[in-house]
Symmetry: C2
DNA sequence: GAGCTATGGTTGAGGAATCAACCATTTATG
DNA sequence: CATAAATGGTTGATTCCTCAACCATAGCTC
């Protein structure tokens, strides 16, 4: 049974603050750099990364959502912008008339290939290089433990589309 | 000299993904719970926490900004909303006519006192309780290392108000 | 195969954070 | 002391994300 005081003790508080703050600041810094020297948003980058990573340059929107852990509406909005900039295209999915295939266009591939080196470099400088291999493993282990726990949360997952709530009548 | 390949190796990639993803998911989950059972945003909560924590129930906006690592404009917008909800008040600062004192109102104190127990509880369940004391110390140490490094970044800090850029003419 | 329900996706409104521009006051410089 | 620069805050536009509502197609079940 875990301890249950109303507040965090100093050790707990320190860990919690450091973790939270570090993650956030890292995120801010990396997005800023990414945008600055490639014109891509983190969101843009992640989409292109999945699309270009999976060796097939097209995939149904639903799969992209799952891969990114995004809501479908977010992807939809995001895609619209990227399409206008010529990075990707939409195509009807022959296997399912409701579905849409998101296709990586040459410009999109070029965009991420241009952006990646500098971005990876920043991830190294601001994260990887600060830790020993053993420390990296520790971070991975602890992070994954938290993720596993969150995944089990009853209320935790799923943006709960009103459509998708369990039958109410 | 750190290794410099164009991509992250599997160990690095695992650590980076786990860290990033865990931080984000944790954040999402905690905000959702907080809002759900107290009606407060994370932003609301943080403001109230600083204000109620420092034993003096009022402080200049500038100090609040610093304590939160927020931009001044963000605080300004945030404060407007909280003022309308009667959680805090603004008062002129007798020491500096440009400045504004942000004051914690009774309703604000009540709000965070009501919200805190459940919130702390969630932080425990989803973070603290997953780790041993030694692991918590490790997380604190590693997180702080990252923060220190980010703080030194030449371009990293400060939203660079155009006003505040080094003299340009 | 008619009528549910579930699924894939789009849209529009609203909230939250950022950015640029601005105003007022204070401090530094000559 | 007059003026320039720096500081504390506010505001409005913009972008990004979430939510709720919606449409169309697919899959069941009878």
């Amino acid at each position: 049974m875990p301890t249950e005081p109303r507040w965090l003790n100093p050790r707990e508080d320190r860990a919690w603050r450091a973790f939270k703050h570090a993650g956030h600041q890292l995120d801010v810094s990396l997005s800023r750099h990414l945008l600055q020297d490639s014109g891509l948003t983190q969101a843009d980058y992640e989409v292109l990364a999945v699309l270009s990573g999976n060796s097939i340059d097209r995939m149904p929107a639903r799969e992209l959502c799952a891969a990114l852990s995004w809501e479908k509406s977010r992807l939809s909005h995001q895609i619209r912008g990227m399409q206008q900039r010529g990075l990707i295209a939409r195509e009807p999915n022959p296997d399912d008339a409701r579905s849409v295939l998101i296709c990586l266009l040459p410009a999109g591939r070029r965009a991420i290939e241009d952006a990646a080196p500098a971005h990876v470099e920043h991830v190294r400088r601001q994260f990887i290089d600060l830790f020993t291999p053993a420390e990296l493993d520790t971070l991975a282990t602890l992070g994954e433990r938290a993720l596993r726990h969150l995944a089990d949360e009853p209320f935790g997952e799923g943006p709960l589309d009103p459509d998708e709530t369990p039958a109410q009548r």
